[in-house]
């Protein structure tokens, strides 16, 4: 008996017992949908990791300033903390390092007309543009004289909104909060206007626009969107060096962190060692800085996503298992309801293998239908249930669909084996007597 004949009889059987077939089909389908979702998440993690790595550059390192809280401060105050002088020394000592970008990370009260809003504020150098440049620019960025003179100019960062996949209402809500700085930037055309930040009047020379939130490759940065205000580092150090509440010695050249890019992954460890010894000397042995490998940070986030994917995968496998037990159940029921028929088939000359194959093929057909239904349910679920569903869909590749269907067919095969085997072992005379 060939496969096509077994499949044809199987289809007829499935059609003849619709309710029974539908039940096990549903269980399988949910498992398949969950597995499909896992694939989407896993692939999303991979893709985002790749994007993020591309974005941070090949050899990203960050040196962060660890300010002591006054009460824990056991330092001898030999160090001035992290400063733009450190950045300059690094540039001189490690001239091959591709990017040295000192940043002063602080905040300010923005006033425009009758409105006042709080915003994060970054003092940056031109090096800042080398990393995470995902914006579209209106107006201009800072020029040489802005940096040199500490000019009272600023660039604003406008929220990017959502590309797709959200209702207008949801889009409006997540676009920005009207009550904070985002609302101010979105509602008023501030280009070439004057705003006041902590009572210093700044001219808005440019506006950067974020990419849409769902397309933002900087997903791994938790602080994105908080800093809407950029000023030249010199300007920040002159006017907004106000984040000294933890330290009793205000330092004019203060920076919060220095972003570096060694240019290649291979040079990161060597650069880290060099930086460590250099800064140990510059800071006179005070441990008030930390050297962070950004790739490891990204990897950590990716691992979190992977764990999430694994959780869903195990749920999906559980559902497949439940579906599989359903298949076992349905096949057993089918076998019991067809004992006489099995007797007739055996008498006419069907071998045990023929009988086994008959039931296995039937179950695999159910698995195939369940798998296809699962793909449809999965796609539907991603589209309508999950908020970021549309985005997730983009991470599914054709073989994901094929593989999930394959899993469901394979599971059906495995779970039908036992009942099919017991059917094949039935004694023909007893089967013929069965009422």
């Amino acid at each position: 008996m060939n496969l096509a004949d077994a499949a044809r009889t199987g289809l007829v059987e499935i059609r003849a017992h619709k309710a029974r077939s539908l039940l096990s089909l549903a269980a399988i389908a949910f498992g398949v949908a969950a597995i499909l979702y896992t694939f989407a998440i896993a692939n999303e993690a991979l893709t985002k990791q790749r994007e993020a790595f591309n974005l941070v550059g090949p050899g990203p390192i960050q040196i962060t300033f660890m300010q002591w809280r006054k009460e824990d401060d056991k330092s001898l105050r030999l160090s001035r903390g992290l400063t733009s002088d450190d950045a300059e020394s690094i540039r001189l000592a490690l001239p091959w390092v591709h990017m040295v970008s000192p940043v002063l990370d602080t905040w300010g009260e923005v006033r425009y007309k009758f409105l006042n809003r709080w915003s994060g504020l970054l003092g940056v150098t031109d090096e800042w543009r080398k990393r995470n440049w995902v914006y579209t620019l209106r107006g201009r960025f800072f020029n040489k004289s802005d940096y040199e003179t500490g000019a009272p100019v600023c660039v604003l960062i406008e929220p990017g909104g959502w590309a797709k996949g959200k209702s207008a209402e949801a889009r409006r809500w997540s676009y920005y909060n009207d009550e904070d700085i985002d609302g101010l930037i979105v509602h008023y055309n501030l280009l070439n206007q004057e705003i006041s930040v902590n009572n210093t009047v700044l001219t808005v020379v440019g506006i950067l626009k974020d990419p849409p939130k769902d397309k933002d490759p900087r997903w791994f940065k938790s602080d994105r969107g908080n800093n809407r205000l950029l000023v030249p580092l010199t300007t920040a150090q002159r006017y907004f060096n106000n984040d000294n509440w933890r330290s009793d010695k205000p330092v004019a050249e203060r920076v919060s962190f220095i972003d570096l890019d060694t240019g290649s992954l291979a040079t990161v460890p060597a650069a880290t060692r060099r930086l460590q010894s250099l800064l140990d000397i510059l800071h006179r042995g005070e441990k008030d800085f930390q050297i962070v490998d950004l790739r490891q940070e990204i990897q950590k986030k990716v691992n979190e996503m992977r764990e999430h994917a694994l959780t869903i995968l195990s749920l999906g496998l559980l559902a497949i298992l439940a579906g599989g037990v359903g298949i076992t159940n349905v096949t057993l029921a089918t076998v019991y309801s067809r004992i006489r028929e099995i007797g007739v088939r055996r008498a006419v000359g069907a071998t045990r293998m023929d009988i086994l194959m008959q039931f296995v093929v039937e179950a695999m057909l159910l698995g195939l239908l369940g798998g296809i239904a699962g793909v449809i349910i999965g796609l539907g679920g991603l589209l309508f249930v999950a908020e970021e569903g549309v985005e997730k869909l983009g991470y599914l590749v054709w073989w994901h669909y094929l593989f999930t269907v394959f899993i469901s067919v394979g599971a059906s095969f495995v779970f039908a084996l036992y009942p099919a085997y017991s059917a094949s072992r039935l004694d023909p005379t007893e089967a013929l007597l069965y009422e």
């Binding site: 008996m1 060939n2 004949d5 009889t9 007829v12 059987e13 003849a16 006489r340 028929e341 007739v344 088939r345 055996r346 008498a347 006419v348 000359g349 069907a350 071998t351 045990r352 293998m353 023929d354 004694d427 023909p428 005379t429 013929l432």
Partner: protein
């Protein structure tokens, strides 16, 4: 078409040699006790006997669906006792046809699909097996109902489909265990006419069981058994003129 070899008396078609069949259900039950019998090609033989006499047991053993406790069974001089389950399945598929009392058919398959089932197992190409199945259905007069499912056929019609299926692959013998037991007397007579017609026209060998005198009267040879033994040991061999 069915090459019944009516003349050759040297080797019987089927030989049952001192066969005993015991069932162990608490106490030992002897369904057959040292029974010996011969059947020849082209016969239209009835096994007669009261309920529990061992008719079904005998037909199952001849049909290789079950194995005897003692003794042996030969088909065309070849011993079938001792063959493996797969070999027996293949033997049944090629050489035997079966008709049962009822529920002969696979419920989800149409009449013609049921009829071609043995050929599906044999791997006969679809167009050929469909043509042969239709021919068999024509010979039982059911061509018009070929595409009906069993549940849309009467008991008599179902048995005719079973007859068509049992002969479609040109077996050397058709075994029928009480094929008319579930039919009314008129339908039963018609089914017997059909079987007898196939026997005389195609030389198809039939061995069937019954305890209905009207059915038995149609047989060209009757073997009576009781308590698993021949009532008249001389019936073990066919009378020289017993073949139609």
């Amino acid at each position: 078409m069915f090459d019944g070899d009516g003349g050759a008396r040297t080797t019987p078609l089927i030989e049952v040699r001192r066969v005993t069949k015991e069932y162990k259900t608490g106490t030992k039950v002897s369904a057959l006790s040292g029974l010996s019998l011969e059947f020849h090609s082209g016969e239209f033989t009835a096994i007669a006997g009261p309920s529990g006499s061992g008719k079904s047991t005998l037909l199952n053993l001849i049909g290789t669906l079950d194995a005897p406790t003692h003794g042996e069974i030969l088909h065309q001089g070849r011993k079938v006792t001792g063959l493996s389950a797969e070999e027996l399945a293949d033997f049944r598929l090629r050489h035997l046809g079966f008709i049962f009392q009822a529920y002969n058919l696979i419920p989800v398959l149409s009449a013609v699909e049921n009829t071609e089932y043995p050929m599906v197992l044999q791997g006969v190409p679809a167009p050929e097996r469909r043509a042969r199945a239709m021919e068999a259905l024509r010979s039982v007069g059911l061509e018009a109902l070929a595409h009906r499912r069993p549940d849309a056929l009467s008991g008599g019609q179902q048995q005719r489909v079973a007859v068509a299926r049992s002969m479609v692959h040109r077996p050397m013998v058709v075994l029928a265990d009480e094929p008319t037991a579930n039919l009314d007397s008129k339908t039963a007579a018609a089914l017997l006419d059909l079987m007898h017609g196939l026997n005389t026209e195609h030389g198809l060998t039939f061995i069937f069981s019954s305890h209905d005198p009207a059915v038995l009267s149609r047989a060209t040879r009757v073997v009576h058994i009781r308590d698993g033994r021949l009532v008249d040991p001389s019936e073990a061999h066919a009378a020289p003129d017993g073949v139609a």
